[in-house]
Amino acid sequence: MSVITLSVNGKDVAIPEGGSLLEATRAAGVEIPLLCHLDGLEPVGACRLCLVEVEGSNRLMPACTTAASEGMAIHTHTHQLLDYRRMAVELFFAEGNHICAFCVANGNCELQNVAVQVGMDHSRFPYQYPQRVVDASHPLFAIDHNRCILCTRCVRVCDEIEGAHVWDVGSRGSHCHIVAGLDQPWGEVDACTNCGKCVDVCPTGAIFHKEDTTAEKLRHSDRPALLKAARDEHVWRNQ
């Protein structure tokens, strides 16, 4: 396997050829905030939190979807990037209806964690208070669109790991939302296998077990990587 070398914040690292900038930052021991990315799922670059500066380029690049190349020099924590990341998180909060106080994921929410990580103490953008609904038609699970940040982890895990492809993205702009089946109530989608992987990977309290009450949701976001390793490499890491 050939190896490429590049620098992250001035530190030289070597990663296998074909690796992403995210892998390079990890090799350098640098942590950058992530929301849509999940190991084991194909990266999509939806949340824009992992944007990095690449010397020689006048635009910011998402670390999760940008392939690393020989000799690249990237910067992960410039003032501009820190400000943009905080701004992106503020926009997540302003765009949905995120009421942590009684949320099933309170205290165990990746959006909360990221807000703390980027130092967000308030939103500089006006809250939009969109009118969104809860779909609790499924016998076991429910999706609260108020808490959805459109990371599409549910779409990808259902398609790539479970192979059911229950979820997709519908509409555009501020009306963009996750749809079940052909934009049906979740409980009416025959393709759903009730596996609960979408619940496991949802970074917020958007998809949850119906019996969960405030702060009771447990995340299992490591499961896609475990399942992928088991399937591709026949390694059961959690045993």
């Binding site: 009684f102 809860v134 609260d144 119906k210 969960d212 009450t213 702060a215 009771e216």
Partner: protein, 479 residues
């Protein structure tokens, strides 16, 4: 020309209110109104949410007694699931409510009301508070604060936090009582008992002396009283059946189920207050005035069921009558209830059932409508939910204790104003602050939680206005 006195804001209560005193052209008091001026709309914005969230959502109505909403929502959730909760969960919920009653009553007595009794109605308003009490009687203030802490700490030991612990859930509770928690409670119980002994002794001395008049004029009028009782008629705070007792001691209605609340309780509205006016339906509005809360609970029950509390209850009845009709007796009733709570807490923490691990029954939705009830520190609390087949709320009705005392609070303010305001009020007369404080204190007897009762937010200042017949503000005082 008629005039109106306005007390705005009312202080040392939870929430935001104002009082208006309406005078006729000759300066005679013709009407008083206790206005609750805040609105939050919980009943409306809960619609569309999963019923499993209601314990978490409604607990946020209030930071003083979130446990009451938590328990009532969990109980309503039990009924929607159509499950029986494990015996351990039932006892642990009781323990939680007893701790809540203790801390809230301690707050009402020591922090909010005792400055009036101990420092005097005419004392400097800037010092007539818990800080003034600390300066005047540091040992009593410390003991009162630690009694409240005792209750608060039990809430934390059970639920993981003092305020807004989402520990009670539909089907039961999340965790049993730990050995460490039991030991802490048992360790601190003697101090809590000593504090309430001190407070009761002090309060009875005051009743026999400087507070003699207040017992007569602070809302002493006939009304019904409502509260939960056990099947054998004893004091109850979380389960049981509802009972109405008349001031002459007659039991007007007994064995009522919360499921039928709409058949015996109505909710009237007035254009000048966000707080509704619940009334006993068979007597109509406003004749169906009734009171709830600590005094009502002690009036409706036959006995408490623990020895020390029953002795104190007998003494209260000796002093104030079998059915105490003076709203000032709420203060005494709170102290007696703290005794009852401490005795019941001691019994529960020594009960091995509270340490059993099976504390939650699990089920999915089995009903579309349910009513839950519990006794909050300030009185009976109802939660009524209707849900669709997916478990999303389609209608919510919350009847809060303070709302049920609304008619009585208005009547109390009127009685105090009649007693302490000169009749007629000469034009241009300034109304003394101490008199205004007594009007406020009438409200404080009920320890109202206006943020709960209107499902409303905000500080709790007081605004008092003196209004002329044509609505002109003649005198005004704000704090």
């Amino acid at each position: 020309m008629t005039r109106t006195v306005v007390i705005d804001p009312v202080t040392r209560i939870e929430g935001h209110a104002k009082i208006t005193l309406h005078l006729d052209a000759a300066g005679h008091l013709i009407d008083t109104r206790f206005h609750v001026v805040e609105y939050r709309g919980f009943e409306k914005f809960c619609e569309g949410r999963p019923f499993t969230e209601m314990a978490g959502i409604t607990a946020r109505i209030c930071g003083i007694c979130p446990v009451s909403h938590l328990l009532c929502a969990a109980k309503t959730g039990d009924k929607l699931l159509a499950v029986e909760i494990p015996p351990a969960a039932d006892k642990l919920r009781r323990l939680l409510n007893l701790a809540q009653l203790t801390q809230s009553h301690a707050l009402s007595f020591f922090h909010l009301s005792s400055p009036d009794f101990l420092l005097g109605w005419e004392s400097d308003p800037a010092k007539r508070n818990v800080f003034g009490l600390m300066a005047a009687d540091p040992n009593l203030a410390r003991a009162g604060i630690r009694l409240r802490q005792f209750g608060q700490q039990i809430l934390e030991l059970l639920g993981g936090r003092k305020i807004h612990a989402a520990w009670a859930v539909p089907g039961g509770v999340r965790t049993p009582l730990s050995v460490e928690a039991r030991d802490w409670i048992l360790d601190r119980l003697p101090e809590a008992k000593a504090t309430i002994t001190l407070a009761l002794g002090l309060y009875k001395t005051l009743l026999d002396g400087p507070l003699r008049k207040e017992q007569r004029v602070f809302g002493d009028f006939p009304s019904l009283f409502m509260g939960l009782v056990t099947p054998d008629g004893s004091w109850e705070h979380i389960d049981g059946m509802l009972r109405f007792r008349a001031p002459d001691g007659t039991i007007v209605a007994d064995g009522l189920s919360e499921d039928d609340y709409a058949s015996f309780l109505g909710e009237a509205v007035e254009p000048w207050s966000y707080l509704k006016f619940p009334y006993y339906k068979p007597l109509g509005y406003p004749d169906g005035i009734y009171r709830v809360g600590p005094l009502a609970r002690l009036n409706v029950c036959d006995s408490i069921g623990t020895p020390w509390a029953d002795r104190e209850l007998e003494e209260l009845r000796d002093r104030s009558g079998r059915v105490a009709t003076s709203s000032f007796a709420y203060h005494h009733a709170r102290l007696v209830e703290i005794v009852a709570c401490l005795e019941a807490i001691e019994q529960l923490v020594n009960d091995p059932e509270c340490r059993k691990s099976r504390v939650r029954s699990r089920a999915s939705l089995n009903r579309n409508e349910a009513v839950g009830v519990s006794e909050a520190p300030r009185g009976t609390l109802f939660h009524h939910y209707q849900v669709n087949d997916d478990g999303l709320l389609t209608r919510v009705n919350l009847i809060i204790a303070t709302g049920q005392n609304n008619l009585a609070m208005n009547k109390t303010v009127h009685q105090i104003a009649r007693e302490y305001i000169p009749d007629p009020v000469p034009a241009g007369t300034e109304i003394p602050e101490a008199m205004l404080n007594r009007v406020e204190a009438g409200i404080r007897c009920f320890d109202p939680c206006l943020s709960c009762s209107t499902h409303a937010a905000g500080q709790m200042p007081l605004h008092l206005q003196l209004l002329a017949a044509d609505g002109q503000i003649l005198a005004e005082r704000r704090r």
